[in-house]
C-alpha cells in the first residue's frame, strides 16, 4: 500500500540546541502510527571548519560535539518504534560519527541497527585553494591565500533518500543543504521523482520550516504584549505531517509549550530567504511566492502552494579559512554622569591606541545607549543623545596578528587606574577567527557517497 502521510519531527535546530527537547517529539511520533522520521540539524557555516580542526588533532574526532547529548535521550526509543533518524551530525567526520552511534546503539540493545554514512561533500582533496578562489562568488576573500581550513559542498537529498531506500535506520551526513534532511525522507517515503520540481519544492519548504527547530513553534518569536508564546519552559519542537502531494501541517507535541500559528510559520518561512521566487537548493529552486498558510486547529498550520523550478547547475560550497585574531573588552560605568564617563573612556582609548597601534580599527559601543543597532564607524553612537545611568563600554578589534589586539585589551584593563572615575567589571577575551567564503562548484566535483556501516 502506498504511503499517504509521513510525520517528520525536528530534534535540534543548531548544535547548541536543547538536549532532551526531542523526547516529546519522539513520543508523539511513536504514538502516531504513521511512518516517522526525526531530524537533527547541527551544522552552522563555521561549525564544520571547527570540526575539521578537531579532526586534525584527533582522527576519531571531527563530528558534532553535541551528537551524544542530543541523541542519547531518544536513540533507543527511535530504534524501538522504527522512527528513522537523519542528521548532519557527521560534520567533518561522518564515519567516526557513525561508529560512535553504532557504539551507542549497541549499548542501548540494538547492535544490528542499520546506520548509513553520506559523504562526498569534502572538497579539500579535490580543489586547490586557487581553484576554490576561481570559483568564489560575492567576493574575493580567497584570492592570494595559501590554504583553507575546510571546503565543503552542500549536497542534496538524493544520497539520503538512497540510504533510506537501502533500509538505513540512522543516516548521518556531513555537509548537506539543511532542508535535504527532510526532503530525503519524503522522496523515499512517497517515491517522488527527482525532476518532480513542485513536489521537491514542497518538501524543501517543509524542510526549511523544520530546520531551525523551535523557531517555527514559538521560539525566537515572543514580543510580550504584542505576540506571545505560551509556557516557554518546555517549548515543543516541531512536527510536520506531510501528505503525498507535498502539502503539510506544521504542529508540535500535545502538552508542550510554545505556539504554532500563522505568525510563527510566516516568520520562519521567510527566514534567511532572499528572492522568495528563487531559493536555491541542490535539489530544486524553491518559489514560495504563491505559498499559503491556514490555521487548521490549535497549534496546527497547513502549508501549501510551493512551486519548484529546475535545480541549479552548480552546487554551493562554503570555504572556511583562518582570518587572524578577534578581541573584545568591556568595562562598566554607573550612576550620575555615567554616560559622559563612558564617552570619555572611549576618547581615552582611541587616543592611546592611536599612539600605540596607529591604523588598528577599533569599534566602541556603549551598551545601554547604542550597541546592537550601531554601526562600526561610530556614526550612530556619535549622534545618540540618550543617557543611561548604568552602561557598559565595549571595545572590539581584529587583526592578522594577536599582539595589536592584545594591546587594546590591556589598555581597556588599564582604565581601572588610568581612566575615568568609577569604571569596574572589566572582562576581555581574545580568540583566533575563522572566516568563510562561498563558491559555486561543478556538480561532478562533489559526487555523493552513501555507504551502509557493516
Amino acid at each position: 500500500m502506498p504511503v499517504t502521510r509521513v510525520h517528520i519531527g525536528a530534534g535540534a535546530g543548531f548544535a547548541g540546541d536543547r538536549a532532551g527537547a526531542a523526547l516529546p517529539v519522539v513520543q508523539a511520533l511513536a504514538a502516531s502510527g504513521v511512518p516517522s522520521f526525526l531530524i537533527f540539524e547541527t551544522l552552522a557555516e563555521r561549525t564544520l571548519a571547527l570540526a575539521q580542526l578537531d579532526r586534525q588533532r584527533d582522527p576519531q574526532a571531527g563530528y558534532s560535539p553535541s551528537l551524544v547529548a542530543l541523541l542519547q535521550p531518544v536513540l533507543a526509543l527511535c530504534l524501538q518504534h522504527n522512527i528513522r533518524i537523519v542528521s548532519n551530525f557527521g560534520a567533518a567526520n561522518p564515519q567516526a560519527a557513525a561508529q560512535r552511534i553504532r557504539a551507542m546503539a549497541t549499548t542501548a540493545g540494538f547492535p544490528q541497527a542499520k546506520i548509513a554514512v553520506v559523504s562526498g561533500d569534502d572538497l579539500s582533496a579535490r580543489l586547490t585553494t586557487s581553484e576554490l578562489a576561481a570559483r568564489e562568488t560575492d567576493g574575493t576573500l580567497l584570492q592570494g591565500r595559501d590554504s583553507v581550513v575546510a571546503a565543503n559542498a552542500y549536497l542534496g537529498a538524493q544520497p539520503i533518500g538512497e540510504a533510506l531506500d537501502a533500509g538505513a535506520e540512522i543516516v548521518v551526513t556531513g555537509r548537506v543543504a539543511d532542508p535535504a534532511l527532510v526532503l530525503g525522507p519524503l522522496v523515499h517515503a512517497f517515491g517522488w521523482r527527482w525532476d518532480d520540481w513542485d513536489r521537491l519544492a514542497a518538501g524543501t519548504l517543509v524542510g526549511h520550516l523544520l530546520e531551525c527547530g523551535p523557531q517555527v513553534s514559538g521560539g525566537y518569536f515572543a514580543d510580550p504584549g504584542f505576540k506571545d508564546a505560551a509556557d516557554f519552559t518546555d517549548i515543543g519542537y516541531p512536527i510536520a505531517e506531510v501528505s503525498a502531494d507535498g502539502s503539510a501541517v506544521i504542529t508540535k507535541p500535545a502538552g508542550t509549550g510554545g505556539v504554532v500559528s500563522l505568525r510563527t510559520v510566516k516568520e520562519q518561512m521567510l527566514y534567511e530567504i532572499h528572492d522568495p521566487a528563487a531559493y536555491l537548493t541542490p535539489d530544486v529552486v524553491l518559489d514560495i511566492t504563491q505559498a499559503e498558510v491556514e490555521q487548521a486547529g490549535p497549534d496546527r498550520v497547513a502549508v501549501r502552494g510551493a512551486r519548484g523550478h529546475v535545480r541549479p547547475a552548480t552546487l554551493k560550497a562554503t570555504v572556511c579559512f583562518e582570518s587572524g585574531w578577534f578581541g573584545e573588552a568591556e568595562i562598566s560605568y554607573a550612576g550620575p554622569n555615567a554616560t559622559a564617563r563612558a564617552r570619555l573612556a572611549i576618547e581615552i582609548i582611541h587616543a592611546r591606541m592611536a599612539q600605540l597601534q596607529p591604523g588598528l580599527v577599533i569599534r566602541a559601543d556603549i551598551i545601554g545607549v547604542v550597541s546592537s543597532f550601531g554601526d562600526s564607524a561610530g556614526r550612530d553612537l556619535a549622534a545618540a543623545t540618550a543617557e543611561s545611568d548604568d552602561v557598559r563600554v565595549r571595545f572590539a578589534a581584529r587583526h592578522a596578528d594577536a599582539a595589536p589586539v592584545q594591546q587594546l585589551l590591556a589598555e581597556v584593563e588599564a582604565l581601572y587606574v588610568a581612566g575615568p572615575a568609577g569604571g569596574g567589571g572589566v572582562r576581555k577575551h581574545l580568540v583566533p577567527q575563522l572566516a568563510s567564503a562561498s563558491c559555486l562548484i561543478e556538480r561532478d566535483l562533489a559526487q555523493p557517497v552513501m555507504e551502509l556501516l557493516p
Partner: protein, 116 residues
C-alpha cells in the same frame, strides 16, 4: 491619519547570509498591508539603515502572506565573520525596522490591538 511605530502593526524576523541581511516584515492584519506597502519602501528602509552604509535595498512582496521581504546588501559590516559589532548576524535589526514611523488612516486605528 495617525502616526505610530511600525512595531504596532507588523512583526519581523531577520536572517543573514554573508554580508547581506534579510528582514521579513509581516502585517498583523490584512488591512495594514496597503499602508505598509505604500510607506515601508526600499528608500525609507535604506534611509533608516543609512549609518550602516547599506548598498542596494530590495523589497519583495508576498501578498498571500501579507508580508514583505527586505534584502539589504552590505548591511552587516562584512558579515558575522568580519563584523566588529556585538550582533554580527544582524538578528536585532528586525526590531530596528519596526522603529519606522508610519501614518495609519484613522479608519484602521481601531484595528490596532497593541499598546502604544
Amino acid at each position: 491619519m495617525s502616526e505610530l511605530l511600525l512595531h504596532r502593526i507588523a512583526h519581523a524576523r531577520s536572517g543573514d547570509k554573508g554580508n547581506r541581511l534579510n528582514i521579513a516584515l509581516i502585517c498583523y492584519r490584512p488591512e495594514f498591508f496597503d499602508t505598509v506597502a505604500a510607506q515601508v519602501t526600499p528608500d525609507s528602509v535604506a534611509q533608516l539603515f543609512a549609518s550602516r552604509a547599506v548598498g542596494a535595498v530590495q523589497r519583495y512582496e508576498l501578498p498571500k502572506l501579507r508580508a514583505f521581504n527586505f534584502v539589504l546588501d552590505h548591511a552587516l559590516d562584512g558579515g558575522v565573520n568580519a563584523s566588529l559589532g556585538l550582533d554580527g548576524h544582524g538578528k536585532t535589526l528586525s526590531f530596528r525596522l519596526l522603529t519606522l514611523p508610519v501614518e495609519l488612516p484613522a479608519a484602521l486605528l481601531s484595528l490596532v490591538q497593541h499598546p502604544a
